[in-house]
């Protein structure tokens, strides 16, 4: 257990991230507190992508030449390591262009199920069926379901959010009922930091035969996540939020579900046999990877999970917990700050969103930026959640393994400076 609790050597880690050495806004050291939006990349990840392109680049799963073999091996080896990183098997992992596409893949496959064969029956939705989401979802895990409901005549329902930023679970059995076909919810809120309890929702969904879809974009990069142990049917996460490149998302689906699910995008690489009037489809995951895949990106994400595994996800989570609690405690000492979401570190990740009385979030972000502090401002793609909490927008600081306590101090001083600049007591 000592390995797990040993603190991170942040200074050594930071040396792996070239961008963290630069300055911004007239020579200020960069304080990067926007990893919830996108994480920075270590040299090991950048080098892995370059090495693939310089030595092994070829189209995968076609061609019999040596480079094609090497490229296919690199691509599939990455899939296997990424699968192991989240406790699954390679044939349960589909590469998509981003996590948003992964959710759309499931939603559109369900929409396509009504015209597919009898093996797809359990994915069919129609009037009288219900889709359950939550009020704290990122738009990526709300809009696809909302639109699927509109297309199929199904009804969209949702869990509300309590004033302190937790899911209101007072009526789980009512909301998830015999009509429910899908329960889609976030593992960790990108705004509130709230870590949602997966177990009661999965248990109830199983009781009524509903499928579960977990948005794990904010949990997989920051903690040890075992998707099979969580028992969800589907999950998505995003490469660029976990030290990997853009242009790549990952969809996990339980083997028997992927095997029964009709495709979303069709075309090359996803077929078994094609004639002029009909097509049969490849087995998963290829069935869901139409067209030439994002190969060098997958290889680089493989390097990213190697990097995260060496550092240790439990240690990363413990480190971020330390930073989060320091930020929450520090903000609590500044008058006129309202933190959105849990104000203590219990079941909470490293996204700290807040508003400052009398200063618009955009203006807070601008003054922080002037001091070299990069935060996110706006509604963070969670407009309904902000409406629920009665604010139009917020400021979000989010932490990762390369942040340290001195940056939390700089951030807190920056918030104080913002209040001074705008003359707000």
């Amino acid at each position: 257990m000592t390995a797990v609790t040993a603190p991170l050597d942040v200074a050594a880690l930071r040396a792996d991230f070239p961008i963290l050495g630069r300055t911004v806004r007239e020579g200020k050291p960069l304080v990067y507190l926007d990893s919830g939006a996108t994480a920075q990349r270590p040299r090991q990840v950048i080098d892995a992508e370059r090495e693939f392109l310089e030595q092994h680049n070829a189209a995968v799963h076609r061609g019999a030449h040596q480079l094609a073999e090497e490229a296919t091996d690199a691509y599939e080896s990455a899939r296997a390591r990424i699968a192991a990183f989240v406790g699954s098997d390679p044939d349960e992992l589909v590469f998509t262009k981003n996590a948003t596409e992964g959710i759309n893949l499931v939603a559109y496959a369900m929409g396509n199920a009504s015209t597919a064969g009898p093996e797809s029956a359990r994915f069919v939705l129609g009037p009288g069926d219900e889709i359950v989401v939550t009020e704290m979802e990122h738009h990526a895990n709300l809009v696809p379901w909302q639109q699927l409901a509109l297309r199929t005549g199904a009804t969209l329902r949702w869990f509300g959010v309590t004033d302190d930023g937790r899911l209101d679970l007072s009526d789980v059995d009512g909301l998830i009922n015999a009509q429910t076909k899908v329960v889609a919810f976030t593992h960790q809120s990108n705004v509130l930091g709230t870590v949602n309890p997966v177990e009661p929702l999965v248990t109830r969904a199983r009781q009524v035969g509903a499928l579960t879809v977990l948005d794990a974009c904010q949990s997989v990069p920051h903690s040890a996540v075992d998707l099979r142990a969580l028992g969800v049917d589907f999950a998505v996460f995003s490469s660029h939020k976990m030290l990997g490149p853009y242009g790549l998302g990952v969809l996990y689906g339980r083997r028997e579900l992927l095997a029964a699910m009709p495709p979303f995008l069709t075309g090359g690489s996803m077929i078994e046999m094609v004639d002029m009037t009909r097509t049969t489809f490849a087995a998963p995951p290829q069935r869901f990877e139409a067209g030439t895949p994002m190969t060098s990106q997958a290889v680089a994400l493989g390097a990213a999970v190697d990097y995260l595994s060496v550092v240790g996800t439990d240690r990363i989570a413990a480190h971020e917990h330390l930073l989060t609690v320091a930020a929450l405690d520090g903000l609590a000492e500044i008058p006129g700050i309202r933190v959105l979401g849990p104000v203590d570190g219990h079941a909470r990740g490293g996204a700290v969103s807040f508003v400052v009385d009398g200063i618009h979030p955009h203006d807070v972000g601008q003054v922080l930026d002037d001091q070299g502090i990069a935060v996110r401002v706006g509604h963070h793609c969670a407009w309904p959640l902000h409406r629920r909490l009665g604010v139009p927008a917020s400021v979000r600081a989010s932490f990762y393994l390369y942040n340290d306590l001195s940056e939390v101090d700089t951030f807190l001083a920056g918030v104080r400076e913002t209040k001074r600049f705008f003359g707000v007591a």
Partner: protein
């Protein structure tokens, strides 16, 4: 410091004491504009009498830049012909989209020249233009002759 160039005193004054704020009757057309990246919004009404902008009233929520620029807008366009108002609108849009390279004409833009520093921050240009786009849209809805 860049920040002071952006947050000129004039802007902060307009933000703290906005001119012409509040929705008023009568009006000929109303426009609702929203900045989808941050959720800032403005509802703006225009009253035209003949070819004159008789009143501009507005309500909304947003950052200091969007609120101050809408306040300045009312100073610049109320009591002028629609054509004159659109000359100012064009000048303000040109200034904001100029990446800091456009020299503003104080005779045309008056307090609006204070926003020159905002043009150096591409992410904030939309904020500065929110109310102006609502004005343009409302005049079009009211059937105003803009040239």
């Amino acid at each position: 410091m860049q920040l002071q160039q952006m947050y000129q005193e004039i802007i902060l004054d307009h933000y703290k004491n906005p001119h012409g704020r509040g929705l008023r009757d009568p009006y000929d057309a109303e426009s609702f504009q929203v900045n989808p990246t941050c959720g800032d919004e403005v509802t703006l009404r225009v009253r035209l009498v003949g070819d004159q902008v008789a009143d501009v009233s507005y309500d909304g929520q947003g950052c200091s830049i969007s609120q101050a620029s809408t306040s300045v807008l009312t100073d610049l366009v109320v009591g002028r012909s629609v054509a004159e108002a659109f000359t100012k609108l064009d000048a303000f849009v040109e200034l904001m989209q100029g990446r800091g390279a456009v020299e503003p004409d104080e005779d045309v833009l008056e307090d609006g020249i204070a926003f020159a520093g905002v043009a150096k921050y591409p992410a904030r240009v939309k904020c500065a233009l929110l109310g102006w786009m609502a004005f343009k849209d409302a005049v079009a809805r009211a059937g105003g002759e803009t040239t």
